[in-house]
Protein backbone atom coordinates (compact mmCIF):
# COMPACT_ATOMS: atom_id res chain seq x y z
CA UNK A 1 0.00 0.00 0.00
CA UNK A 2 3.01 2.26 0.41
CA UNK A 3 4.22 1.43 -3.09
CA UNK A 4 1.93 3.79 -5.06
CA UNK A 5 3.05 6.63 -2.78
CA UNK A 6 6.70 5.84 -3.39
CA UNK A 7 6.09 5.86 -7.15
CA UNK A 8 3.87 8.93 -7.19
CA UNK A 9 6.31 11.08 -5.23
CA UNK A 10 9.49 9.67 -6.78
CA UNK A 11 10.62 8.29 -3.44
CA UNK A 12 12.40 5.27 -4.87
CA UNK A 13 15.61 6.55 -3.28
CA UNK A 14 14.07 5.33 0.00
CA UNK A 15 14.85 1.76 -1.13
CA UNK A 16 18.54 2.69 -1.17
CA UNK A 17 18.29 4.34 2.26
CA UNK A 18 16.50 1.21 3.48
CA UNK A 19 19.17 -1.09 2.09
CA UNK A 20 21.92 0.86 3.86
CA UNK A 21 19.93 0.94 7.06
CA UNK A 22 19.55 -2.86 7.05
CA UNK A 23 23.30 -3.27 6.68
CA UNK A 24 24.01 -0.67 9.34
CA UNK A 25 21.60 -2.38 11.77
CA UNK A 26 23.78 -5.49 11.68
CA UNK A 27 26.81 -3.58 12.92
CA UNK A 28 24.90 -0.90 14.74
CA UNK A 29 26.70 -0.94 18.08
CA UNK A 30 30.22 -1.08 16.70
CA UNK A 31 29.32 1.65 14.23
CA UNK A 32 27.79 3.94 16.84
CA UNK A 33 30.70 3.43 19.19
CA UNK A 34 33.11 4.42 16.41
CA UNK A 35 31.02 7.43 15.48
CA UNK A 36 30.84 8.74 19.00
CA UNK A 37 34.14 7.77 20.58
CA UNK A 38 36.35 9.94 18.41
CA UNK A 39 34.66 13.33 18.94
CA UNK A 40 34.03 12.53 22.62
CA UNK A 41 37.72 11.89 23.20
CA UNK A 42 38.54 15.22 21.59
CA UNK A 43 35.89 16.96 23.61
CA UNK A 44 36.94 15.58 26.96
CA UNK A 45 40.69 15.64 26.27
CA UNK A 46 40.97 19.07 24.70
CA UNK A 47 37.98 20.55 26.53
CA UNK A 48 39.20 19.79 30.02
CA UNK A 49 42.93 19.43 29.36
CA UNK A 50 43.54 22.41 27.12
CA UNK A 51 40.53 24.24 28.52
CA UNK A 52 42.20 24.52 31.92
CA UNK A 53 44.71 26.97 30.43
CA UNK A 54 42.19 28.92 28.36
CA UNK A 55 40.36 32.13 29.11
CA UNK A 56 36.62 32.16 28.52
CA UNK A 57 35.50 32.71 24.92
CA UNK A 58 32.47 34.98 24.43
CA UNK A 59 31.80 34.49 28.11
CA UNK A 60 31.73 30.69 27.98
CA UNK A 61 34.20 28.05 29.14
CA UNK A 62 36.48 26.63 26.46
CA UNK A 63 34.87 23.19 26.70
CA UNK A 64 31.47 24.67 25.81
CA UNK A 65 32.93 26.57 22.87
CA UNK A 66 34.69 23.42 21.70
CA UNK A 67 31.58 21.27 22.11
CA UNK A 68 29.60 23.53 19.77
CA UNK A 69 32.32 23.12 17.15
CA UNK A 70 32.79 19.38 17.72
CA UNK A 71 29.08 18.82 17.17
CA UNK A 72 29.52 20.07 13.59
CA UNK A 73 32.91 18.46 13.15
CA UNK A 74 31.58 15.03 14.02
CA UNK A 75 28.63 15.47 11.64
CA UNK A 76 31.02 16.51 8.90
CA UNK A 77 33.26 13.52 9.52
CA UNK A 78 30.43 11.01 9.60
CA UNK A 79 28.88 12.26 6.38
CA UNK A 80 32.26 12.46 4.67
CA UNK A 81 33.39 8.95 5.57
CA UNK A 82 30.07 7.47 4.54
CA UNK A 83 29.89 9.37 1.25
CA UNK A 84 33.51 8.60 0.39
CA UNK A 85 34.67 5.21 1.61
CA UNK A 86 31.39 3.39 2.18
CA UNK A 87 29.70 4.73 -0.94
CA UNK A 88 32.77 4.09 -3.06
CA UNK A 89 32.94 0.46 -2.01
CA UNK A 90 29.29 0.10 -3.01
CA UNK A 91 30.08 1.76 -6.33
CA UNK A 92 33.28 -0.07 -7.17
CA UNK A 93 34.31 -3.05 -5.07
CA UNK A 94 30.86 -4.47 -4.41
CA UNK A 95 29.13 -3.16 -7.57
CA UNK A 96 26.03 -2.68 -5.45
CA UNK A 97 24.91 0.38 -7.43
CA UNK A 98 25.25 -1.51 -10.71
CA UNK A 99 22.96 -4.21 -9.33
CA UNK A 100 20.42 -1.62 -8.20
CA UNK A 101 20.17 0.09 -11.60
CA UNK A 102 19.53 -3.30 -13.24
CA UNK A 103 16.26 -3.13 -11.33
CA UNK A 104 13.74 -0.38 -12.18
CA UNK A 105 15.82 2.23 -10.34
CA UNK A 106 17.82 5.09 -11.79
CA UNK A 107 21.33 6.31 -11.01
CA UNK A 108 19.70 9.45 -9.55
CA UNK A 109 17.65 7.27 -7.15
CA UNK A 110 20.90 5.67 -5.99
CA UNK A 111 22.80 8.94 -5.51
CA UNK A 112 19.94 10.68 -3.70
CA UNK A 113 19.49 7.63 -1.46
CA UNK A 114 23.20 7.64 -0.59
CA UNK A 115 23.13 11.42 -0.04
CA UNK A 116 20.29 11.16 2.47
CA UNK A 117 21.76 8.09 4.13
CA UNK A 118 25.14 9.73 4.77
CA UNK A 119 23.34 12.80 6.14
CA UNK A 120 21.32 10.59 8.49
CA UNK A 121 24.51 9.04 9.82
CA UNK A 122 25.87 12.55 10.36
CA UNK A 123 22.70 13.42 12.26
CA UNK A 124 23.22 10.42 14.48
CA UNK A 125 26.79 11.50 15.27
CA UNK A 126 25.58 15.01 15.98
CA UNK A 127 22.88 13.64 18.27
CA UNK A 128 25.51 11.66 20.17
CA UNK A 129 27.54 14.82 20.68
CA UNK A 130 24.49 16.70 21.86
CA UNK A 131 23.74 13.96 24.38
CA UNK A 132 27.33 14.21 25.60
CA UNK A 133 26.88 17.97 26.03
CA UNK A 134 23.79 17.37 28.14
CA UNK A 135 25.61 14.75 30.20
CA UNK A 136 28.57 17.07 30.82
CA UNK A 137 26.14 19.81 31.82
CA UNK A 138 27.19 22.12 28.99
CA UNK A 139 23.63 22.62 27.70
CA UNK A 140 20.26 22.69 29.42
CA UNK A 141 16.57 22.68 28.52
CA UNK A 142 14.92 21.93 25.20
CA UNK A 143 16.19 24.82 23.07
CA UNK A 144 19.50 23.08 22.15
CA UNK A 145 17.43 20.32 20.46
CA UNK A 146 16.65 22.85 17.71
CA UNK A 147 20.20 22.28 16.45
CA UNK A 148 19.25 18.84 15.06
CA UNK A 149 17.80 20.10 11.74
CA UNK A 150 20.99 22.11 11.29
CA UNK A 151 23.06 18.97 11.89
CA UNK A 152 21.03 17.21 9.18
CA UNK A 153 21.74 20.13 6.86
CA UNK A 154 25.47 19.96 7.64
CA UNK A 155 25.24 16.25 6.86
CA UNK A 156 23.55 16.92 3.52
CA UNK A 157 26.19 19.53 2.62
CA UNK A 158 29.15 17.25 3.34
CA UNK A 159 27.56 14.13 1.92
CA UNK A 160 26.85 16.07 -1.31
CA UNK A 161 30.48 17.22 -1.49
CA UNK A 162 31.73 13.73 -0.61
CA UNK A 163 29.65 12.10 -3.33
CA UNK A 164 31.22 14.41 -5.92
CA UNK A 165 34.61 13.02 -4.88
CA UNK A 166 33.29 9.46 -4.97
CA UNK A 167 31.89 9.88 -8.46
CA UNK A 168 35.30 11.09 -9.66
CA UNK A 169 37.41 8.57 -7.73
CA UNK A 170 39.31 5.77 -9.43
CA UNK A 171 40.56 4.30 -6.16
CA UNK A 172 40.45 4.92 -2.41
CA UNK A 173 43.80 6.77 -2.59
CA UNK A 174 42.04 9.64 -4.34
CA UNK A 175 40.24 10.52 -1.12
CA UNK A 176 43.50 11.38 0.65
CA UNK A 177 43.64 14.56 -1.46
CA UNK A 178 40.18 15.52 -0.36
CA UNK A 179 41.03 15.02 3.30
CA UNK A 180 44.37 16.81 3.10
CA UNK A 181 43.25 19.69 0.92
CA UNK A 182 39.64 20.17 1.99
CA UNK A 183 38.51 18.49 5.18
CA UNK A 184 41.57 19.08 7.39
CA UNK A 185 42.00 22.77 6.46
CA UNK A 186 38.26 23.25 6.90
CA UNK A 187 38.54 21.95 10.45
CA UNK A 188 41.09 24.66 11.29
CA UNK A 189 39.57 27.52 9.28
CA UNK A 190 35.98 27.17 10.44
CA UNK A 191 36.32 28.01 14.11
CA UNK A 192 35.91 24.50 15.51
CA UNK A 193 38.81 24.65 18.00
CA UNK A 194 39.22 28.42 18.41
CA UNK A 195 37.38 31.57 17.33
CA UNK A 196 38.06 32.51 13.70
CA UNK A 197 38.85 36.04 14.88
CA UNK A 198 42.24 34.69 16.03
CA UNK A 199 43.24 34.06 12.39
CA UNK A 200 44.77 36.61 9.95
CA UNK A 201 42.06 38.46 7.95
CA UNK A 202 42.89 36.73 4.62
CA UNK A 203 42.48 33.31 6.16
CA UNK A 204 39.32 34.47 7.91
CA UNK A 205 37.94 35.44 4.51
CA UNK A 206 38.57 31.93 3.17
CA UNK A 207 36.86 30.49 6.21
CA UNK A 208 33.83 32.66 5.61
CA UNK A 209 32.84 30.72 2.50
CA UNK A 210 33.29 27.27 4.01
CA UNK A 211 30.20 25.29 5.00
CA UNK A 212 31.60 24.18 8.36
CA UNK A 213 31.99 27.84 9.44
CA UNK A 214 28.30 28.45 8.92
CA UNK A 215 27.41 25.18 10.60
CA UNK A 216 29.53 26.00 13.66
CA UNK A 217 28.05 29.51 14.01
CA UNK A 218 24.53 28.08 13.85
CA UNK A 219 25.32 25.23 16.25
CA UNK A 220 26.82 27.54 18.89
CA UNK A 221 23.92 29.90 18.55
CA UNK A 222 21.27 27.23 18.94
CA UNK A 223 22.91 25.10 21.65
CA UNK A 224 24.80 27.67 23.73
CA UNK A 225 22.82 30.85 23.04
CA UNK A 226 25.76 32.66 21.38
CA UNK A 227 24.26 35.58 19.42
CA UNK A 228 24.02 34.70 15.71
CA UNK A 229 25.01 37.40 13.22
CA UNK A 230 23.14 36.06 10.19
CA UNK A 231 21.49 32.70 10.88
CA UNK A 232 19.48 32.59 7.64
CA UNK A 233 22.56 33.29 5.57
CA UNK A 234 24.23 30.36 7.35
CA UNK A 235 21.28 28.11 6.48
CA UNK A 236 21.33 29.35 2.90
CA UNK A 237 25.05 28.64 2.46
CA UNK A 238 24.69 25.11 3.86
CA UNK A 239 21.64 24.48 1.67
CA UNK A 240 23.55 25.69 -1.40
CA UNK A 241 26.46 23.34 -0.73
CA UNK A 242 23.98 20.50 -0.15
CA UNK A 243 21.92 20.99 -3.31
CA UNK A 244 24.82 21.84 -5.62
CA UNK A 245 26.75 18.87 -4.26
CA UNK A 246 24.01 16.34 -4.85
CA UNK A 247 23.05 17.81 -8.25
CA UNK A 248 26.62 17.60 -9.50
CA UNK A 249 27.02 14.07 -8.06
CA UNK A 250 23.90 12.89 -9.89
CA UNK A 251 25.30 14.22 -13.16
CA UNK A 252 28.73 12.68 -12.61
CA UNK A 253 27.41 9.29 -11.49
CA UNK A 254 25.00 9.22 -14.42
CA UNK A 255 27.94 9.72 -16.71
CA UNK A 256 30.00 7.11 -14.92
CA UNK A 257 27.40 4.32 -14.59
CA UNK A 258 25.53 4.90 -17.85
CA UNK A 259 28.59 5.22 -20.06
Amino acid sequence: MTEPLIERFHLRFLHVVGRNFLVWRKLMYASMLGNMADPMIYLVGLGYGLGAFMPTIDGMRYISFLAGGMLCYSAMNSATFEALYSAFSRLKAQRTWEGIIHAPMTAADVVIGEWIWAALKATLSGAAMLIAMYVLGLVHGVRPLSVMPVVLLIGLAFSGLGLIMTSLAKSYEFFIFYFTLVITPMMFLSGVFYPRAALPPVIQAIGAVLPLTHGADLARGLTLGVPMAHPWLDVLVLALYATCGVALSVRLINRRLLK
Binding site: E3, H15, G18, R19, G99, P104
Partner: protein
Protein backbone atom coordinates in the same frame (compact mmCIF):
# COMPACT_ATOMS: atom_id res chain seq x y z
CA UNK B 1 9.74 -9.53 -26.54
CA UNK B 2 12.75 -7.60 -27.83
CA UNK B 3 13.11 -5.68 -31.08
CA UNK B 4 16.35 -3.91 -31.95
CA UNK B 5 16.57 -1.85 -35.16
CA UNK B 6 19.67 -0.14 -36.48
CA UNK B 7 21.38 0.19 -33.09
CA UNK B 8 24.51 2.34 -33.09
CA UNK B 9 26.91 3.32 -30.35
CA UNK B 10 30.27 5.08 -30.39
CA UNK B 11 32.79 5.65 -27.64
CA UNK B 12 35.04 8.66 -28.22
CA UNK B 13 34.86 8.41 -31.99
CA UNK B 14 35.10 4.61 -32.28
CA UNK B 15 31.88 2.96 -33.37
CA UNK B 16 31.54 -0.22 -31.27
CA UNK B 17 27.98 -1.08 -32.38
CA UNK B 18 27.39 -0.41 -36.08
CA UNK B 19 23.75 -0.72 -37.03
CA UNK B 20 22.68 -3.92 -35.27
CA UNK B 21 19.14 -5.27 -35.83
CA UNK B 22 17.55 -8.39 -34.38
CA UNK B 23 14.37 -9.59 -32.77
CA UNK B 24 13.67 -12.14 -30.06
CA UNK B 25 10.28 -13.81 -29.89
CA UNK B 26 8.51 -14.78 -26.68
CA UNK B 27 9.72 -18.10 -25.29
CA UNK B 28 12.87 -18.09 -27.37
CA UNK B 29 16.41 -18.54 -26.11
CA UNK B 30 18.57 -16.18 -28.14
CA UNK B 31 22.36 -16.18 -28.00
CA UNK B 32 24.54 -13.20 -28.86
CA UNK B 33 27.99 -14.56 -29.67
CA UNK B 34 31.18 -12.79 -30.50
CA UNK B 35 34.86 -12.37 -29.63
CA UNK B 36 35.90 -10.04 -26.83
CA UNK B 37 35.17 -6.46 -27.78
CA UNK B 38 32.60 -7.40 -30.43
CA UNK B 39 29.99 -5.13 -28.83
CA UNK B 40 27.83 -7.77 -27.11
CA UNK B 41 27.77 -6.23 -23.65
CA UNK B 42 27.24 -2.73 -25.08
CA UNK B 43 24.27 -4.06 -27.08
CA UNK B 44 22.76 -5.62 -23.95
CA UNK B 45 23.31 -2.44 -21.95
CA UNK B 46 21.55 -0.42 -24.64
CA UNK B 47 18.62 -2.87 -24.58
CA UNK B 48 18.24 -2.29 -20.84
CA UNK B 49 18.56 1.47 -21.16
CA UNK B 50 21.81 1.47 -19.17
CA UNK B 51 23.74 2.98 -22.05
CA UNK B 52 22.34 5.64 -24.32
CA UNK B 53 22.64 4.60 -27.95
CA UNK B 54 23.62 7.01 -30.73
CA UNK B 55 20.98 5.70 -33.10
CA UNK B 56 18.36 3.05 -33.70
CA UNK B 57 15.22 1.94 -31.87
CA UNK B 58 14.70 -0.63 -29.15
CA UNK B 59 11.46 -2.12 -27.87
CA UNK B 60 11.75 -4.27 -24.76
CA UNK B 61 8.74 -6.09 -23.30
CA UNK B 62 6.49 -3.86 -25.41
CA UNK B 63 8.04 -0.61 -24.16
CA UNK B 64 10.34 1.84 -25.96
CA UNK B 65 13.89 2.05 -24.61
CA UNK B 66 15.37 4.33 -23.38
CA UNK B 67 12.16 6.41 -23.12
CA UNK B 68 10.48 3.86 -20.82
CA UNK B 69 13.60 1.92 -19.83
CA UNK B 70 12.79 1.89 -16.13
CA UNK B 71 9.32 0.48 -16.72
CA UNK B 72 10.79 -2.07 -19.15
CA UNK B 73 13.36 -3.14 -16.55
CA UNK B 74 10.51 -3.73 -14.09
CA UNK B 75 9.41 -6.58 -16.41
CA UNK B 76 12.92 -7.87 -17.03
CA UNK B 77 15.49 -9.95 -15.16
CA UNK B 78 19.23 -9.30 -15.41
CA UNK B 79 22.03 -11.72 -14.55
CA UNK B 80 25.20 -9.62 -14.91
CA UNK B 81 28.62 -10.77 -16.02
CA UNK B 82 30.32 -9.69 -12.80
CA UNK B 83 29.03 -10.74 -9.45
CA UNK B 84 27.26 -7.85 -7.71
CA UNK B 85 25.51 -9.70 -4.93
CA UNK B 86 25.39 -7.79 -1.69
CA UNK B 87 28.16 -9.17 0.57
CA UNK B 88 26.65 -7.48 3.61
CA UNK B 89 23.54 -9.69 3.44
CA UNK B 90 22.79 -13.38 3.77
CA UNK B 91 21.52 -15.43 0.84
CA UNK B 92 17.83 -14.86 1.52
CA UNK B 93 18.36 -11.22 2.54
CA UNK B 94 19.92 -10.65 -0.87
CA UNK B 95 16.68 -11.75 -2.50
CA UNK B 96 14.41 -9.78 -0.15
CA UNK B 97 16.43 -6.57 -0.48
CA UNK B 98 16.62 -6.88 -4.25
CA UNK B 99 12.85 -7.25 -4.35
CA UNK B 100 12.55 -3.82 -2.71
CA UNK B 101 14.08 -2.19 -5.78
CA UNK B 102 11.16 -3.60 -7.77
CA UNK B 103 8.73 -2.26 -5.20
CA UNK B 104 8.01 -5.77 -3.92
CA UNK B 105 7.27 -5.68 -0.21
CA UNK B 106 9.03 -7.75 2.40
CA UNK B 107 6.04 -10.00 3.07
CA UNK B 108 5.55 -10.90 -0.59
CA UNK B 109 9.27 -11.51 -0.99
CA UNK B 110 9.41 -13.78 2.05
CA UNK B 111 6.73 -15.91 0.38
CA UNK B 112 8.76 -16.07 -2.85
CA UNK B 113 12.16 -16.75 -1.30
CA UNK B 114 11.72 -20.51 -0.65
CA UNK B 115 10.75 -21.12 -4.29
CA UNK B 116 13.68 -19.03 -5.54
CA UNK B 117 16.12 -20.82 -3.26
CA UNK B 118 14.78 -24.17 -4.43
CA UNK B 119 15.28 -23.05 -8.03
CA UNK B 120 18.88 -22.13 -7.23
CA UNK B 121 19.49 -25.34 -5.25
CA UNK B 122 20.31 -23.24 -2.18
CA UNK B 123 17.49 -24.38 0.13
CA UNK B 124 19.89 -25.13 2.97
CA UNK B 125 21.83 -21.88 2.51
CA UNK B 126 19.06 -19.37 3.26
CA UNK B 127 20.86 -17.87 6.24
CA UNK B 128 24.40 -18.35 4.93
CA UNK B 129 26.82 -15.47 4.59
CA UNK B 130 27.84 -14.69 1.04
CA UNK B 131 31.54 -15.35 1.61
CA UNK B 132 30.74 -18.98 2.47
CA UNK B 133 29.31 -19.64 -1.01
CA UNK B 134 31.25 -21.15 -3.92
CA UNK B 135 31.43 -19.39 -7.29
CA UNK B 136 28.74 -21.67 -8.71
CA UNK B 137 26.41 -21.03 -5.76
CA UNK B 138 26.86 -17.28 -6.12
CA UNK B 139 26.03 -17.46 -9.81
CA UNK B 140 22.91 -19.50 -9.06
CA UNK B 141 21.90 -16.96 -6.43
CA UNK B 142 22.44 -14.16 -8.97
CA UNK B 143 20.20 -16.07 -11.35
CA UNK B 144 17.54 -16.51 -8.67
CA UNK B 145 17.83 -12.81 -7.86
CA UNK B 146 17.10 -12.01 -11.53
CA UNK B 147 13.76 -13.77 -11.01
CA UNK B 148 12.49 -11.85 -7.96
CA UNK B 149 10.02 -9.90 -10.13
CA UNK B 150 8.90 -13.04 -12.01
CA UNK B 151 10.11 -11.60 -15.34
CA UNK B 152 9.09 -12.99 -18.71
CA UNK B 153 12.38 -11.95 -20.28
CA UNK B 154 15.82 -12.46 -18.76
CA UNK B 155 19.19 -11.09 -19.89
CA UNK B 156 22.26 -13.14 -19.04
CA UNK B 157 25.72 -11.73 -19.70
CA UNK B 158 28.18 -14.62 -19.88
CA UNK B 159 26.31 -16.70 -17.30
CA UNK B 160 28.91 -19.46 -16.90
CA UNK B 161 32.22 -17.63 -17.35
CA UNK B 162 34.65 -18.69 -14.64
CA UNK B 163 32.67 -21.72 -13.45
CA UNK B 164 33.89 -25.31 -13.31
CA UNK B 165 32.16 -27.95 -15.50
CA UNK B 166 29.87 -29.20 -12.74
CA UNK B 167 28.71 -25.69 -11.94
CA UNK B 168 28.23 -24.91 -15.64
CA UNK B 169 26.05 -27.94 -16.16
CA UNK B 170 23.91 -26.98 -13.21
CA UNK B 171 23.45 -23.45 -14.59
CA UNK B 172 22.56 -24.86 -18.03
CA UNK B 173 20.00 -27.10 -16.39
CA UNK B 174 18.44 -24.11 -14.59
CA UNK B 175 18.37 -22.08 -17.80
CA UNK B 176 16.66 -24.93 -19.64
CA UNK B 177 14.01 -25.09 -16.93
CA UNK B 178 13.42 -21.36 -17.47
CA UNK B 179 12.89 -21.80 -21.22
CA UNK B 180 10.70 -24.83 -20.51
CA UNK B 181 8.48 -22.57 -18.40
CA UNK B 182 8.04 -20.30 -21.43
CA UNK B 183 10.40 -17.48 -20.51
CA UNK B 184 12.47 -15.60 -23.03
CA UNK B 185 16.24 -15.70 -22.51
CA UNK B 186 18.84 -13.48 -24.13
CA UNK B 187 22.38 -14.50 -23.36
CA UNK B 188 25.85 -13.52 -24.43
CA UNK B 189 28.59 -16.07 -24.31
CA UNK B 190 31.82 -16.99 -25.97
CA UNK B 191 31.38 -20.65 -25.16
CA UNK B 192 30.08 -22.14 -28.39
CA UNK B 193 29.08 -25.42 -26.78
CA UNK B 194 26.93 -23.42 -24.38
CA UNK B 195 25.22 -21.58 -27.21
CA UNK B 196 24.73 -24.76 -29.23
CA UNK B 197 23.20 -26.51 -26.24
CA UNK B 198 20.89 -23.75 -25.00
CA UNK B 199 19.96 -21.42 -27.82
CA UNK B 200 17.12 -21.78 -30.29
CA UNK B 201 18.78 -19.08 -32.35
CA UNK B 202 22.14 -17.39 -32.25
CA UNK B 203 23.57 -14.24 -33.77
CA UNK B 204 27.29 -13.91 -34.29
CA UNK B 205 28.59 -10.42 -33.71
CA UNK B 206 31.98 -9.14 -34.79
CA UNK B 207 33.43 -5.62 -34.78
CA UNK B 208 30.06 -4.12 -33.94
CA UNK B 209 27.98 -5.85 -36.63
CA UNK B 210 25.89 -9.02 -36.79
CA UNK B 211 27.50 -11.25 -39.39
CA UNK B 212 25.25 -14.34 -39.14
CA UNK B 213 22.00 -15.24 -37.46
CA UNK B 214 20.12 -18.56 -37.40
CA UNK B 215 19.48 -21.74 -35.42
CA UNK B 216 22.83 -23.29 -34.42
CA UNK B 217 22.25 -26.47 -36.50
CA UNK B 218 21.25 -24.46 -39.55
CA UNK B 219 24.26 -22.17 -39.21
CA UNK B 220 26.56 -25.16 -39.08
CA UNK B 221 25.03 -26.83 -42.13
CA UNK B 222 24.85 -23.60 -44.11
CA UNK B 223 28.25 -22.19 -43.27
CA UNK B 224 30.57 -25.15 -43.04
CA UNK B 225 31.38 -28.67 -44.21
CA UNK B 226 29.87 -31.33 -41.90
CA UNK B 227 33.15 -32.93 -40.78
CA UNK B 228 36.41 -31.67 -39.38
CA UNK B 229 39.69 -33.56 -39.15
CA UNK B 230 42.30 -31.96 -36.91
CA UNK B 231 45.82 -33.14 -37.80
CA UNK B 232 48.99 -32.47 -35.83
CA UNK B 233 52.48 -33.90 -35.40
CA UNK B 234 55.81 -33.83 -37.26
CA UNK B 235 55.45 -32.89 -40.91
CA UNK B 236 51.97 -31.45 -40.55
CA UNK B 237 52.91 -28.33 -42.52
CA UNK B 238 53.99 -30.31 -45.61
CA UNK B 239 50.94 -32.52 -45.35
CA UNK B 240 48.61 -29.55 -45.03
CA UNK B 241 50.19 -27.87 -48.05
CA UNK B 242 50.60 -30.82 -50.41
CA UNK B 243 48.22 -33.64 -49.51
CA UNK B 244 45.27 -32.41 -47.46
CA UNK B 245 43.82 -29.95 -50.02
CA UNK B 246 43.27 -32.88 -52.42
CA UNK B 247 40.86 -34.57 -50.00
CA UNK B 248 39.33 -31.74 -47.99
CA UNK B 249 37.20 -28.84 -49.15
CA UNK B 250 39.12 -26.37 -46.96
CA UNK B 251 42.35 -26.63 -44.99
CA UNK B 252 43.51 -24.13 -42.36
CA UNK B 253 46.89 -24.37 -40.72
CA UNK B 254 47.07 -22.71 -37.32
CA UNK B 255 50.26 -23.08 -35.37
CA UNK B 256 51.00 -26.81 -35.39
CA UNK B 257 47.49 -28.01 -36.22
CA UNK B 258 45.81 -28.39 -39.61
CA UNK B 259 42.02 -28.09 -39.59
CA UNK B 260 40.59 -29.96 -42.60
CA UNK B 261 36.94 -29.30 -43.37
CA UNK B 262 35.43 -32.19 -45.35
CA UNK B 263 32.13 -33.38 -46.74
CA UNK B 264 33.55 -36.92 -46.56
CA UNK B 265 36.48 -37.76 -44.30
CA UNK B 266 37.28 -41.27 -45.68
CA UNK B 267 39.75 -40.24 -48.45
CA UNK B 268 41.65 -37.92 -46.13
CA UNK B 269 41.92 -40.50 -43.35
CA UNK B 270 43.02 -43.01 -45.98
CA UNK B 271 45.76 -40.67 -47.15
CA UNK B 272 46.92 -40.19 -43.56
CA UNK B 273 47.86 -43.88 -43.25
CA UNK B 274 51.12 -43.21 -45.07
CA UNK B 275 52.18 -40.59 -42.47
CA UNK B 276 52.97 -42.37 -39.22
CA UNK B 277 54.21 -39.21 -37.50
CA UNK B 278 50.85 -37.46 -37.84
CA UNK B 279 47.95 -37.83 -35.45
CA UNK B 280 44.37 -37.03 -36.35
CA UNK B 281 41.11 -36.27 -34.58
CA UNK B 282 37.98 -36.67 -36.66
CA UNK B 283 34.79 -35.02 -35.40
CA UNK B 284 31.54 -33.42 -36.49
CA UNK B 285 31.63 -29.72 -37.32
CA UNK B 286 30.27 -27.53 -34.55
CA UNK B 287 29.33 -23.95 -33.88
CA UNK B 288 32.88 -23.12 -32.86
CA UNK B 289 34.06 -23.97 -36.38
CA UNK B 290 31.44 -21.61 -37.80
CA UNK B 291 32.44 -18.95 -35.32
CA UNK B 292 36.12 -19.25 -36.18
CA UNK B 293 35.36 -19.28 -39.91
CA UNK B 294 33.33 -16.08 -39.63
CA UNK B 295 35.40 -14.15 -37.10
CA UNK B 296 38.88 -15.45 -37.92
CA UNK B 297 41.55 -16.97 -35.73
CA UNK B 298 43.20 -13.75 -34.60
CA UNK B 299 43.36 -13.11 -30.89
CA UNK B 300 41.18 -10.18 -29.81
CA UNK B 301 42.24 -8.18 -26.81
Amino acid sequence: MLQVRGLRKSYSGTEVVRGVSFGVAAGECFGLLGPNGAGKTTTLRCCLGLTRSDGGTITLAGLPVPAAAREARARTGVCPQFDNLDPDFTVSENLVVYGRYFGIGRRVMLERVPRLLEFAGLEDKAGARLDTLSGGMKRRLTLARALVNDPQIIFLDEPTTGLDPQARHLIWDRLKSLTASGRTLILTTHFMDEAERLCDRVAIMDRGSLIAEDAPRKLISAQIEPHVVEIYGDGVRDFARDIAPRHAQRVELTGETAFCYCRDTAPLLEALHGYGSLRALSRAANLEDVFIKLTGRDIRD
